[in-house]
Subunit: 490 residues, 2 copies
């Protein structure tokens, strides 16, 4: 056995154990008896300790030093294991454990503070989380930028400065488009009616099938929040039903199918190596978004969906496919990121990105967060936030220490824009297939050009390889402006 | 931290990890996508390796040597950890891994051989399994009896000689009772009709509730084979539905509720220690059996069930509760252990116990197994086995190396007999409650006198403590003779 073989054998077990831990998380959100929380916490903690020990095992350092990779694939495997080993080893066990404890506590306090509209109950513990995250970032950064060090966990091979520059070119066009849309004379009609849960789930499953979800390697269950979980042969998703709003269930499902299909689509040869998972949060989000938006909210697919929904619910209050297309893509003022549309979503992200960079750098204190949030929201959205649950308290992310995660949502949209442009060029008859309820030509293009590569290439190179063009926000912005000009008669 | 504290902290994590591995097994049998078998095998193997490393960790030896337990509970914890450590350490890793591989292979070969009625395809690999089991037994026995060494995994603190003597006193009375029953003039009517799956599951859930199943710490799902899985706050069961035979689903469920309630009933203070699980397979089976048979197949509960089933299925082909009681307890000739009744079940076990003792001792070779089985079956049951799937190929146990497991089924019945006698004395109004569909007084007696103790006492002492009498087959045999004399007019 060479050092590389030893390294790989050890890593395969670590990957398998990490997949077990992820499965426990799925179990907790879907089928776990409600009285089992204490036991599950002990089980998760034990798994985390086993994983942490393996990720910092001194033998890794020796194997990494001695490994002589023979191919591009082997070299990339070594590179990714080394990156994880270096990062994990840099954070003292004491700090990791304190972070785990404080964020677990902070999440509970956040949920209660949000329910009570009492930011003052949450901000002190957020301050503690921030201090620990800064300490973690300093350990990881090794002299470099603190925020970049955190960002690397979610979107490696990029910097906050690059993302900031990208967002700066996007913001004015998005703000302008948003104003034009909300000022337009004709506004699309809302969908109203009675939409029984069973029927919604049946339709959601039909949509998953249209988008090529492999049921032999996944499943769909109900959970409070939609998510996807797992990889390789076992990538499951959850959805939820809000009875008056069937688009919630249907488009959540298509979104999660995007995530899950990415995992299902990775080359089997990469299974149980660091190449056997989605390469970054941004690329992951590009898949969920292109399934959900560029394909799922396009005219061709919504035309098919209109007929399916009309049949399933015995008619709709929307007259025809064209009006339905506008309804699906309706833009309305709102405070909440997760409820927002393709146009406003990125503005929500940019607000969070700028605020969290300031929080991590110490330029903004937790005490001043609500004020800063509200000022920025007024500036970008033209509306005064009415209550904290609609403002700085709306997202769970910061309470659990996820600083550096938010920008990957918008980056995913940018990547989806690039991929969509290339996919439309390469698959000119995609809309024809979608109109028949067949997303296969699009899904196959994504699988062939992106998904199958897993972690083989860094995110940006992966997108550029797939599209044959430099990553740029232009395709996304062009697509949005053209699409919404059509819908709103701009 | 004292050595005992270190030992306990380490053990708690091991118990939590072992509970995770068990949960994976549940997932595989209930919700896992069918294409995930290869991944799951890797995950299970990785968990097993982690667990094996922990169970043979040299620090365990040091802590065990230095531990100074201060209470009876602490002393028992040390005793049980030491027993496991000694046993696990005695088996070379090479042998453990070979056993895992060979039995996994053998199980597949057994399933195919059974389907094809081709024992000659299975017996060679059974011979390999036997050679490895003898090697394992020799390592464990450390000079003692081979079969006893294997038995200890399932029923510690007893010997094959003791069990053999017990069975010898039972066999003649059971054989005689069986003959009397099958020769009786009036035979109870069989239940026939249409029993939709949904209704069966609804009734099974109602039965679980009657027997005190704690739904906040468990759940019921469908699986190919009924089983119970997990402990403490998360003990789940599965059931199955054979549509023409509703007793299959109902009594499987009550049986598994017995197992699962035992785990749920253990004192919370013992959680994540070796005291926090059922103490032996025999005691476990005593709980499933007393729920299923002495309570569930008694006149009082079947009276309640008759009315519930009549309502649920719009009438039955059985006239009244008394006839229904006879139907539930019908004894018919048959080859299959898992389909047999309270009277014949133990005869099935005794046959296997004697054969497997001979197999392990080398007095019987795999080649001669079918012949030996058929001769013994003819002797005890008066019938010639018609085909191997109804004979030596019917059970999975030997293919997966479970030698020493079978006798615990009959031991469980003996324990259940002892417990039933004591419970009936202590709870004279139990039948009155059962007639109303309330098993609580019986379940509470079992919980208070047996279940809550978990692994605190060795099996026999536990039963004797609970019943105030020496363990003996007499209560079981008396109960069976009286019950079936009544039903069959003997």
């Amino acid at each position: 056995m060479s050092a590389f073989d030893d390294l790989l054998a050890f890593q395969r077990q670590t990957e398998a154990l990490s997949s077990v831990a992820e499965r426990l998380g799925w179990d907790q959100e879907t089928v776990m008896p409600r009285g089992a929380t204490e036991q599950r916490a002990e089980e998760m903690a034990a798994m985390e300790e086993v994983l942490h020990e393996r990720r910092t095992d001194p033998r890794l350092g020796e194997w990494l030093a001695a490994a002589e990779p023979q191919t591009e694939v082997e070299a990339r495997i070594v590179e990714l294991i080394a990156r994880d080993f270096t990062r994990t080893s840099r954070v003292p066990a004491r700090l990791a454990s304190e972070l785990a404890k404080t964020t677990s506590l902070a999440q509970g306090i956040w949920a209660e503070a949000r329910a009570k509209e009492a930011p003052e109950e949450f901000l002190p513990v957020l301050d503690q989380v921030l201090m620990l995250k800064r300490e973690q970032a300093a350990a990881l950064a090794d002299g470099g930028d603190l925020y970049d060090a955190l960002l690397e966990d979610y979107e490696p091979d990029t910097t906050a400065a690059e993302i900031g520059a990208l967002f700066d070119t996007m913001r004015p066009r998005l703000v302008a488009l948003r104003e034009d849309i909300l000022g337009a004379e004709d506004q699309p009609q809302a969908l109203t009616g009675h939409f029984p849960q069973e029927t919604q789930i049946r339709l959601a499953r039909a949509c998953a099938t249209v988008f090529g979800y492999d049921w032999s390697r996944g499943r769909i269950d109900l959970a409070v929040h939609p998510f996807s979980s797992g990889r390789w042969q076992d990538s499951r998703i959850t959805t939820r039903v809000v009875e008056p709003e069937p688009f919630n269930c249907l488009y959540s499902t298509i979104h999660e199918v995007g995530h899950s299909s990415y995992e299902q689509g990775i080359d089997d040869d990469y299974a149980l190596t660091p190449l056997g998972r989605g390469v970054s949060m941004g690329v992951h989000e590009s898949q969920s978004r292109i399934y959900e938006n560029q394909i799922g909210r396009g005219r061709a697919f919504t035309g098919w969906l209109f007929h399916r929904m009309s049949d399933a619910f015995d008619g709709l209050n929307i007259a025809d496919p064209e009006a339905f297309y506008a309804t699906v893509n309706r833009v309305t003022p709102g405070y909440i990121r997760t409820e927002s549309d393709e146009v406003q979503y990125n503005l929500h992200i940019m607000l969070r990105f700028d605020l969290e960079r300031d929080l991590v750098a110490g330029r903004l204190g937790a005490d001043d967060l609500v004020e800063a949030w509200n000022a920025r929201f007024l500036k970008d959205f033209g509306v005064t936030v009415d209550r904290p649950a609609n403002g700085a308290l709306q997202d769970v992310h910061w309470s659990v220490g996820l600083f550096g995660y938010f920008p990957t949502y918008a980056l995913g949209n940018v990547y989806a824009g690039c991929l969509n442009a290339a996919m439309r060029d390469a698959v000119p008859d995609l809309d024809e297939a979608l109109a028949r309820g067949d997303a296969a030509p699009g899904v196959e293009w994504l699988r062939e050009n992106l998904q199958r590569h897993g972690g083989l290439m860094p995110p940006r190179r992966l997108i550029e390889d797939a599209t044959g063009a430099t990553v740029s926000p232009a395709p996304l912005l062009d697509y949005l402006e053209e699409k919404f000009a059509g819908i709103y008669g701009l």
